[in-house]
């Protein structure tokens, strides 16, 4: 069976500095995979490489067996990979409903058409409303997205990410900057909306990680030092060293 996502010796340098130093990773379809690691380990860079935001220096990224080299973000998205951002990245001047509807357009085959009206499509409206229901923003439907609270914007960000129906969902620190109750809320939400999909997430909150992930990879200085089930990773001495070491430095 082909992996949903396969990274082979992936490398990225900025100038002289190598940030990602040969990452190999294979993520099976339907897996919930968390990437953890200390600050500055290159987690977000890894995300940006996979989704085509930056070109890689060397190595291969394969999505469902297809090489993504040289593809633009929009092409990668069309192949069934969708991502959220660490810093909220929505369409602030458009309504919440419009935000979700726009995220549905491509996958529903509307492309660049200017011969049909979006408001005439019952199917589109229903699908968008169903997603709003899922992310509990129905009551905010007609507000400009920019006026929502932070947690609501994060929920919308996730809604936009899953709306297109991509099979591989990548979430970049979905709970960053949230309170405990908000974090629990978003964790449940992620669980609900990624049912049956491949999920790859970067996360700092270990509660979220252990609650959601089937498998965990630990990224330290641009290299994966361990991959496995949560218990294995927790018990791994190198991980303990890296994490405790980092934790010691931090405190």
């Amino acid at each position: 069976m082909t992996s949903a996502l396969e990274l082979i010796n992936l490398r990225k340098s900025f100038g002289q500095t190598e940030i990602i130093r040969g990452v190999d990773l294979s993520i099976a379809p339907g897996e919930r995979h968390a990437i953890i690691g200390p600050n500055g380990a290159g987690k977000s860079t890894l995300f940006n490489l996979i989704t085509g935001r930056f070109p890689q220096t060397a190595g291969v990224v394969e999505l469902n067996g297809q090489n993504l080299a040289g593809k633009a973000p929009f092409e990668i998205n069309r192949l069934g990979l969708s991502r959220s951002f660490q810093i909220t990245n929505i369409f602030p001047k458009m309504t919440v409903f419009e935000n979700v509807r726009c995220s549905l357009l491509w996958s529903r085959g509307y492309q660049y058409s200017f011969w049909n009206l979006v408001s005439n499509s019952q199917e589109l409206t229903e699908a968008a409303d169903a997603i709003l229901e899922q992310i509990n923003l129905t009551s905010r439907r007609n507000l400009p997205a920019g006026v929502l609270s932070y947690a609501e914007q994060r929920a919308l960000e996730i809604g936009i990410t899953i709306a297109g129906g991509a099979n591989v969902i990548m979430l970049d620190e979905p709970t960053a900057g949230m309170s405990h109750s908000e974090t629990d809320y978003i964790t449940d939400l992620i669980m609900k909306v990624t049912e049956g999909k491949t999920l790859i997430m970067v996360e700092h909150d270990m509660g979220v990680v252990f609650g959601l992930a089937d498998k965990i990879s630990v990224l330290v200085y641009g290299e994966i030092i361990a991959t496995g089930a949560p218990e294995e990773v927790r018990a791994n001495p190198r991980v303990q060293e890296a994490y405790l070491g980092a934790a010691m430095e931090a405190h």
Binding site: A72, F91, P92, M94, C102, Y112, S113, W115, L117, G164
Partner: protein
Amino acid sequence: MRMLMPWIVGAIVLLVLPIFFGGRSQLTIMSQMSITVVFALAYNMLLGQGGMLSFGHAVYMGMGSFLCLHVMNMSSFGSFPLPLLPLLGGVFGLLFAIIIGSFSTRSAGTVFAMISLGIGELMAALVLIVTVFFGGEEGISGYRDEGLPFFGIEFISNLEVYYLIAIWMFIAVALMYLFSRTPVGRMANAVRDNPERAEFLGYSARRVRFVSFAVSGFFCGVAGGLSAILFEIATESDLNVTASGVILLVAFLGGIGFFWGPIIGAVVFTLLQTVLGLQTHLWELYLGVVFVGMVMFFPAGLSGIIMAHVPAAKMGKLGTLVGPYLTCVLPGILGGLGLAALIEMIFHVRSGAEGEHHMVLFWIDFSTHDVLPWLVALAVAVIGIGLAVRNAPNFKAAWENASTLPEAA
């Protein structure tokens, strides 16, 4: 049905306007207004809806205009029905926009603005060099009534031309409105707000911008075709950078945030240009002041100001604003007029003929060598603006009170 109401009212207004304003020049002004409406809306497809600031958009309207005039000058024009000419103009505008847009829409922002400025300057210069096509400084002229009569109509009278232009305007506005409701029209907004996010939703931001640009070029071309029919001439001044600047001004004056904003801008601007232009040599100065003031204090434009009243109206509090309007806005306007009077008098003294002291302003006859008129104008300006400034905090408070919900008791 409720959604169709504005369109039905609009159609009726267009239909009956000539009954009230049937004079030759009035019909021409209304025709010109209609053309500006089409052009301004086409421009706002880029600026307001797509976030692309163009300094050379008159090129597409001008090209449509020139090409339509060449069609009018063809020997086979006699077998071509005139009402279809704007469609040809649109196709010309579209083709030209496809060529330029293929490289200029790569990014929005400064690069796009600069390329548009460069193309604008280039085309304006080419008009004077390529005389075969553009006719040099005289431009190209033709006769609309040489086309195939359309159900017996030859479009000789201004009324016939007005109706032709009004119908085209109505169709173009409706189509542009519908475009903003199509998938690519919605994505234009998304790309304007956040191009990167749109890319991660499967859309190429460049492609979305390109489609908007091409469609905008089409409607600019339609406006150009209408202009060819109305004025029967096209010159360099139709596509130079000044013409592009004017349409930016029109769209911004009306407000780029709402679809119908530029319509208001086009109507108000054309009225100012024709009515104020007849009254004073300085209308461009006033226009500049209004424009700069608008950007500074009301960047949402006239439509934004109108829409700002909606919350108050919904809560039935518009009445509470009458008082503040009378004590702040009215003195402000009067003060502005006083200031304008001063400026007019200075201008009269400086550029009037030697020994010419006589002047008529606001229907008042006076001599610029008397002290009294100066004092009156100065007093009106100082007192009016002074009152406006003094009452401004009150106005602001009343405004905020009217547009926010009362605290739940």
